[in-house]
Symmetry: C2
């Protein structure tokens, strides 16, 4: 069994420990073209005068200033033009009193001249130039070294090289720039079950794709480090020691992430304890308990938790700032915003909790958030004025979709046991570029609707099923929910003309109907329907192995309703019918999943849509149609993303209450009723 | 002569024209490791279920849930352990009722099992496992496809791939990612006088280093484009056409910048007009009049002004947003801040002006800004409360140091003729990472002080001379000024004990003395002093060719004072002495410049410091010492950067009124009095 962590270090002490480690890479010289974003390792003085010569600032005539004194528009001075000087050429003559030369902007002022008169104030005829203005010495001339003189401090050490500093460096003729070395970070992925993306996966043997190596590598690069990867290692002590030693000798920092494979973390721990120095073993942060910090062979070592969200959270919190510091990269500008909790969140583990959260902009009008302390059906409205709602995203158990469904983190201090609904919280965004989605929806997954989302900029839609959509829309967390008729049974028989109000009545709360369609559902069978399935009755009577959808799915609700009807026809109890179906509880999550089960022989019949069956070339036995509704929260109908969704629905021929002008701008949308099994309401 | 621009396009119409051009690169596939920062070209559905199997979420025992029903701490259930399953291995057995298998986090749930009981709630003895809790079906199991199921929409088109999306892509096993192609931008540098950094420069022939190719390339890359460079071209029509055509065929956008060499811009213009399509010829923006926009061979073409600051301003304003859009990169978060003008700025050219400005944070207390509309010596205080002061940085004439001395741009609308002192202005920062300098100083250049600046994080110091320092400190624009005793003559003889008040009296305004030192000055001569120069008298009497410093220099003021003294000794007029010096008005800008003139024979004697002469190995004839004072604006003494400067001065042994504790933290500073010619006050 794994070692129990004795005493968890405080987050502050872990920050201090990591700060005390030297992650600095060796300074290096990079070509000017590759210097952008790097940090100057040493002070840089100008090696030359810029400009390197007295330079004409305008097109005109180089003169002896004294010769022009007294010249005016009405009483010009005349000089002999004795030559012409273009930029990039060496003056051939020195000018004497009474003479001038034509000169281009940027050209070298000839010997004898000390000013330039701009061409607009002159007239030239037959080698004689009339100057209609006088010029003081130095006029329209940029003297050598005026921009910067040789020996002047040009840029200080630690200067971050942006486009602008690149400009000064090039003006100085610097072609190689001494920059702070990027910390070299070695990434060791541990875990026998990990497979590199792109390689085939043996799921039956519990293999999964390696996530942490890629996220941590991307995080290291974003923070200004460079990445070396070290091959997967098992839990053999000698092998782990060898790999750790190689990485430590080649890098400034070695990072590994916890593995779910038994023993690997223990082995790293033992190697560190016996061959290096273990400085931190566990930190009082959720997630992050299993964090390790140590030193090994002159390199720093940090062990991160195994779950991707946890690993990245701990990386962002403790390691990224240290890498940025070592790389000389600036701390990103503050990326904290304030919002209100959409749900109550309780917590009592006595550790600092870094809670991943998603954001949704409430409408410009007052909106509401549910107080979940009230009884389940009571919605207590909380005044919010176009603010941000913050909802926890915590699927746990290593879900990788949480990575992209969260926008930032809320810190819950160890002595905070609860954040109430509506309470103000500070959210640390994952990056300054993070913005809340344009529209946030939850509900039924529908292949046509899913494609429609591609027409909208930055939508977030979680296909958690009709039940979840209904709940979250009621609670005012989402902008939009997608719900099937099976979930709101009364609506299925409602008068079309008054669909919205009958839906509202059936749901028990107000909602604005943005769109709706019907889709044909039925039984998915192998191509050619070898078992000759004809309908639901075969499921009940013939013990065909069935694959259902999960309980939150609206399609499953529709199936259940259909079985109820079948039972009523037969004067049987619905439960008896359900119990006769082999695999009614064998549920999978998405439209393609039953098809795959049917294809690989795990099941003979699956629940599905005609459109999915057609697309994936399997057989389909139609059972019925169900209606799908897109409902918006009434306070959010003016939100840009909701309007855009409405327009996209209209463009696809399934919009209701939506602006047809906006829809007409979307010219290339596929109409829903061109899809197999789909139709307008 | 160059063509006059007929009608300048409005900035809005230029934006529209550029928006109408297609800069989009071809979509491409990049390896997952190179995908960070790129933008997804197409929607991506999950190709597999994640996880691909029913997965244990904890270490424990896989069981049939039904077998555990009724188990409690006091009344546990006992099962036979029939095996062990580690992560990454395939279960060998199906479990039957009454059986369980030990299972690791992440391992495959064996057939027959439908729940996991965590190890903490169990005891195992001799193959028998006691379960002290019951488990519902599905408990501690992450079902296949729960994270994301095959066919579900994973990421929409246009998604910017951050660390987090990389995580989801790797979980899905995606090793190559379809991304929006980076716009390919061809950069043509025009101008015979331009030399590539790193190559030798012939200043006498008016050569300068190419700046725009490098800044624009860096700007293109920062905006998400890729750069192709095309060789310098002269002003030959055929050659220009050939290069333009090649660039246009290989790129989505071709950019050139104006050249100071006569004709090159005209040639580009003629090629565009004759062989392509010219859409914009001149924009009503200062700087930007000579901007060109057109199309050539299916590529877009933009011609930028020639001066580096102008080229980059026009690039940032018009081109960078278009490149970002084509690359699918997000518009940077708003980077506009508000400040108050430190000077009055007038303008009357009737074009939108993009005025480069620098920023300085005023102290936390009320500070003052000068109202330059008042008579020159009146300082009218304007209430500012720890705000940002904004001052124009506009050296003009192609200065490249302006690139790094400005922090952003203030837009002056065509009908704005003046921004008053203290007026609120919006500053568009060059990037969100821009921060005002920690300390802003202007004044005498001093080699030892210049090195001291390396100890401070993000200082900005302009070595514009003592006179400029004095002016700007009085006006409340700078935090700190460095001024020589020659500039404040009464202070030179003041009682050391009351230096600050006598300085204040001499300056005519209050200032806090942070530090001071003396430096030995004199005449720089060739090594070995071949002309046997002994002092100032030789300059006056022997017609030695002299090189002076510019009038703003405190060192020159000290020289002038010394000549006054010499004249008094001789009972001559100071002007007569000055007139006798050959080259008194031959002035150069920095400490090393006179040395270079002496070295290259342009002058026989130069004005300089012992420390510079020693360092550059030339001869030195001492004349005297002068005192140098570092003075802070009294309202800014608590500013972090000012405190840090004080500490650094103390660490170097020349601090006054500064915190010695902070100084002691700086352990490796060189003491000023270890430098040749330097001493403490």
């Amino acid at each position: 069994m794994r070692k129990e962590f004795r005493e968890l270090a405080s987050p502050e002490s872990v920050h201090e420990t990591i700060e005390s480690l030297d992650l600095t890479g060796d300074p290096k010289r990079v070509p000017l073209r590759a210097a952008r974003g790097r940090v100057l390792a040493e002070r840089l003085d100008a090696p030359i005068d810029v400009p390197g010569f007295d330079r004409a600032s305008v097109d005109g005539y180089a003169v002896k200033a004294r010769d022009t004194f007294g010249a005016t528009e009405t009483d010009p001075v005349e000089l002999d033009r004795v030559g012409t000087i273009h930029a990039g050429t060496e003056p051939e003559t020195e000018i004497e009193s009474g003479e001038c030369v034509a000169i281009s902007t940027g050209a070298v002022l000839p010997a004898g001249a000390d000013a330039v008169v701009m061409v607009e104030r002159t007239d030239e005829r037959d080698g004689r130039v009339e100057l209609r203005t006088s010029a003081a010495p130095g006029k329209r001339v940029m003297a050598a070294g005026t921009d910067i003189a040789a020996g002047e401090r040009a840029l200080g050490p630690g200067t971050r090289l942006t486009t602008r500093e690149i400009g000064l460096l090039s003006a100085l003729g610097v072609s190689e720039v001494p920059v702070v070395g990027a910390p070299r970070v070695g990434i060791i992925s541990t875990g026998e079950e990990l497979v590199r993306p792109g390689k085939p996966l043996n799921s039956a043997a519990g293999q999964i794709y390696d996530v942490n190596s890629y996220t941590i590598a991307a995080g290291v690069e974003a923070a200004g480090g460079t990445v070396e990867r070290y091959p997967h290692t098992g839990d053999d002590y000698e092998e782990m020691e060898r790999v750790l030693r190689q990485a430590a000798n080649e890098c400034d920092l070695v990072v590994s992430s916890g593995s779910t494979s038994a023993g690997a973390v223990d082995v790293v721990y033992r190697v560190l304890e016996q061959e290096g120095e273990l400085l931190v073993h566990g930190v009082a942060v959720k997630p992050g308990k299993p964090m390790l910090v140590g030193e090994f062979e002159n390199a720093a070592y940090v062990g991160l938790p195994g779950y991707p969200v946890s690993a990245l959270t701990i990386f962002d919190t403790f390691l990224a700032p240290a890498i940025r510091r070592a790389a000389g990269q600036p701390t990103p500008r503050t990326t904290t915003i304030t919002g209100r909790m959409a749900h109550r969140e309780r917590y009592s583990e006595g550790r600092l909790r870094l809670l991943p959260v998603g954001l949704v902009e409430s409408g410009s009008d007052e909106t509401r958030a549910v107080d979940t302390t009230a009884s389940d059906d009571t919605v207590s409205e909380i005044g919010l004025d176009g603010e941000l709602l913050v909802y926890p995203v915590d699927k746990g158990s290593g879900a990788t979709t949480s990575l992209v469904e969260a926008d930032g983190v809320v810190e819950m201090h160890p002595d905070t046991h609860e954040i109430s609904t509506g309470e103000r919280v500070e959210v640390s965004l994952f990056s300054p570029a993070v913005r809340p989605p344009s529209v946030f929806g939850v509900g039924e997954d529908d292949p046509a609707f899913s494609e429609l989302l591609d027409r909208i900029d930055r939508p977030r839609y979680l296909g958690m099923g009709s039940q979840a959509g209904r709940r979250r829309l009621r609670n005012g967390v989402v902008d939009v929910a997608v719900i099937t008729s099976g979930t709101v049974s009364t609506a299925a028989s409602a008068d079309e003309d008054d669909l919205e109000s009958s839906l509202t009545a059936a749901l028990g709360f107000e909602a604005t109907l943005l769109g709706g369609w019907t889709r044909e559902w039925g039984l998915v069978v192998p191509a050619g329907n070898p078992a000759d399935v004809t309908g639901l009755a075969d499921l009940v009577d013939r013990k065909l192995r069935f694959v259902n959808r999960t309980t939150d799915s609206g399609l499953r609700a529709t199936l259940t309703n259909a079985i109820d009807a079948l039972a009523a026809e037969r004067s049987e109890s619905p439960q008896a019918c359900i119990d006769s179906i082999d695999g009614f509880e064998f549920a999978v999550r998405a439209h393609e999943s039953p098809v795959q089960s049917v294809r690989d022989g795990t099941a003979a019949v699956g629940l599905g849509l005609r459109s999915t069956a057609d697309r994936l070339d399997v057989g389909f036995v139609p059972v019925g149609t169900e209606r799908v509704f897109v409902l918006a929260h009434p306070d959010r109908t003016d939100k840009d993303g909701v309007t855009a969704l409405g327009a996209a629905l209209s463009a696809a021929g399934v919009g209701i209450n939506t602006d047809s002008t906006a829809a007409s701008a979307i010219t290339d949308a596929d109409s829903f009723d061109d899809r197999p099994g789909y139709d307008r309401l």
